[in-house]
Symmetry: C2
Amino acid sequence: MKLTPRLKEILPDDRVSTQPDQLEAVSKDESTLPPVIPKAVVWCIDRNEIVEVVRLCCNTGIPITTRGAGSALEGSTIPHAGGIVLDLSRMTRIVDFWPEDLQVEVEPGIIYDHLNDHLKNEGLFFPPSPGGSGDIATVGGMVSTNASGIYSVKYGGTREYILALEIVTGTGEIVKLGNRAVKRSSGYNLVELICGSEGTLGIITSITLKLAGIPEDRLKTAYKFPDEKAAAQAVSEMRRYGLDIAAIEFLDRRLMTALNKLKEYGLEEVPALFLEFHGPGAVLDSNSELAGDICTEHGASPLRLAEGQNPWEVRHWATDAVKHFKPGYTILRNDVAFPISSLPEMVEYCHHLGDENGITMFTFGHVGLGLLHALMLARPDNADEWRTAQEINRKIIEKTLSLGGTISGEHGIGLGHKDQFMREHGPAVDLMRRIKRQFDPKGILNPGKIFD
Amino acid sequence: MKLTPRLKEILPDDRVSTQPDQLEAVSKDESTLPPVIPKAVVWCIDRNEIVEVVRLCCNTGIPITTRGAGSALEGSTIPHAGGIVLDLSRMTRIVDFWPEDLQVEVEPGIIYDHLNDHLKNEGLFFPPSPGGSGDIATVGGMVSTNASGIYSVKYGGTREYILALEIVTGTGEIVKLGNRAVKRSSGYNLVELICGSEGTLGIITSITLKLAGIPEDRLKTAYKFPDEKAAAQAVSEMRRYGLDIAAIEFLDRRLMTALNKLKEYGLEEVPALFLEFHGPGAVLDSNSELAGDICTEHGASPLRLAEGQNPWEVRHWATDAVKHFKPGYTILRNDVAFPISSLPEMVEYCHHLGDENGITMFTFGHVGLGLLHALMLARPDNADEWRTAQEINRKIIEKTLSLGGTISGEHGIGLGHKDQFMREHGPAVDLMRRIKRQFDPKGILNPGKIFD
C-alpha cells in the first residue's frame, strides 16, 4: 500500500497533502540552501497522531522532517532525505499556565509573539526573543535550535527556560523529560540533550517553560567607540563589573557606512555598542550610569542622531542597510561565537578577508554573549564570487575554532555547517551518533542533519 | 596477576594503597549510608594515568568510583560495587585563566574556596557556592552533582557555568566536550549530560568555567512573616517583579524555636525569609527597598536581633540549631524541589507528618529556587523511629512528585534516592541506561548509582 493512503488512515484527508504548491512550501527554509520536495506533508494536532505517524514511518523506513515555521537559517527544516514533512504549526495551545510559579506549558507550534501576548496579562514573558522573527518563529523551533536573541545577555537563551519536554522518539514512544522543579540534580539532563538537537532525537509534543517578569521599565543607550578593541574591552568590563544589562549589541564601522547610505544619518563611521537596561526605574538608572562610565573610560561618547531620535533606531535598520547596500546581491551570513576578548581580532580578520578578496563584509551581533555575525554580499549567479564568499566563510569558521569558539552561536548546524561540525567536536561526534541511535534506531528523524 | 601490582605498573607505589585506614577513609561520604571498603584506592595526577587505570579496569571488569572530597550527601562516592576508588583530590591545578573573558580552566580536584581565592585577584568568582562546604567540596564533585547554593537564585547552579569538559570514558577514550563560546547552538549538549551524572558516564579531567564579577557591594536583610503562605507569595512576587536578588532563604517557624533554644535570641516563632543583594551600591539599595515593600505588603516586618546583630546570623546557625536540638539524635534530610506556589502546602505537609508520627521536623532552603530541605531527628539505634523517619521521607518525596517536583534539587541521586528515581523519570530512565552504555559499555563507572 502506498504512503499517502496509509497516512490518510491515521489523519483526516485534509491534513495529508501531496499538492505541489504545499510540498513546495515546506521544501525550504530561510537559508540559501537548495529546496528538496518531500513525498507528502502532514499536519498533526496531538501526540497520538504523531505516535501513529512515527510508527508508520519507523516500520517503513520513511524519513520525517519536523517543521514549525520554517524560519531556520541553516537548512534544519529542509526535508533533505525526502520522506514526509511533519508540520506542527497547528499545535498552538497553551496547555497550562501557572502565573504564581512563573511557568507555562505549551504545544510546540505556538508562535513566540502569540505566547508573549498571552503571558503579558499576568505581567510575565518568555525572554529569549528570536531576533526579528518573533512574529513567525515557533517555540518548538526555538527549543530545537536553542534560539537566542538580543536579551539573552541578561536572560539567557532558550535552554535556560525549558523545565520539561514531552517527546515522541523515533520508535513512536512517548517520553516525558524533566519536571516543574526549577533547580534539579536528578539524573541525566535529557531536556538539555533535546534542546538544540534540531529534530534528530525526538518530536517535541509539549514544552514547559520557566518565565520572567516583564521589566517595569526599559532604558536604551548607544555609544560610539574609537575602534573595535575599545568596544570589546568595554563589553568585557561591563560583564566583569556584574552590571545588569539586558542587551549589548555591536555594529562595526562598515555598518555605519551602510546605515548612512540607507538613512542619511550622517553618523561618524566608527563601531558602536547599543545597550538596553531592564528593571525598576531607579535600578536601571544606576546600571546605565555605571555602564556609561565604563564606555567613556574606553574612549566612547554617546551616539546621537541629528533629529534627536532614539539611537537604537540605528540598530533596528542594520539588516536592511546590508540588504540594500548593493542591489542584486545576496547576503551570505555566518553565526560564530567566541570568547569576548577575541572580538577586535575577529572583526579585523573578517574585514581583511573581505578587502583582500573584493567581497563587501559587515559584522555585528549580540557581543554581550560573544556572538558575531559576519555578513557578506555576493551574487549566487557569479560562480567565482559566490565560491570566494563561501571560502571566506569557511576561513572565518576555522579562525573561530582556533580561538576556542563555535560554528553556531544561535542558528544551529542543520545542513549548512555539517562540514565543519566534526572539526569543532572531534571524537564527541561519535558519542552523539551513538546517542541518536538510542532515540531513533532506524534513523528516520531528520536524517542527515547536524552530522551524517 | 593481581590488581594492586598491575595498578603499581601504572602509578608510583605511593599512589596506590590497600592500607585499611586509607580504604576506610574512602569507603563513605557525608551521608548516613553504610560504608563499603574498596579493593584499593589510587591517586591520579593527570589524564594519561587515568586513561591507563580505566583501560585496566575496563579489560578486567573492575568498578571505578571517582572521588573528590567525599562531601556527597547521597552516597554518590561510596564504592558500592567494590572495585577501586579513583581519588582526584591531587589534581588541583588552574590550567588556564582568561580574566578578560571571565573564564578559567581547572583540574577537577581543586577546592571551591581555593579556586575563588585565586580568582579574587582579578575581581572574579565562581558563584555556585556549595552551602557550608565550599572549604572542602571539589569543583569536579560540584560538576558531577550540579551543585548549587544560596546564591544560585541570582547566579544559577553549577551547570550554568560549565563551558567545556574533558572526560575519559569507560573505555579509556579522552573526549573534549564543549568549548569557550558562552552561547552555542552546535549539536547535542554533552557538557550538560555529564553535569549531574555523578561519575557514571566519564571521569572528568578538565573543567572550563564561566565566571562572574565579584559584586561591588552586598546587602543582607531579613523579614518575619505571619505564616508560610505569606512568605511563599512574597517570594513568587519578588521573582515576578524581576528583582535582582542574590539569595532568598527560608526558615520555618520551628527552626526559630530551635534557634531560640541554641542562642537565646528570643525570636518570635514565625517563618522568616533572608534576602541578600549584590551589586553596585545604588542598584542594591533600589532592589532591597522594592523587595522590602513586597514583603511588607504580605504582612512581614523586619527580623531584628536584640543585640542589633546582622539578622543573617540567625540563618548561619540554622543547621547547628537542628544538630543540637535533641542530643543523641541523627539528622535525616531530604532535598526536594518543587514549584514555589506549593511551598505553604509542602511545609504544612512536612509538619503534619512529623507531628502525627512523633518525629521532630524542620524545613528550610533556597526557596528562591523552590528548594526545600526537610530535616528529621531520629535515632538509628531505635529501629522503629528510624524506619518511621524514613517512611516520612518517602512520603515527602511522593508528595513532591505529585506536585511536579524533583527528588533532588541539589545533592544528587547517588544510592540514597535510587528507589524513587524511576517514579520521577519513568520511561526516560531506560533512555538514560542506554546512554550510559554508549559512554561506559562495560558498566565500570560508579556502577549502581542513580539507577541500576
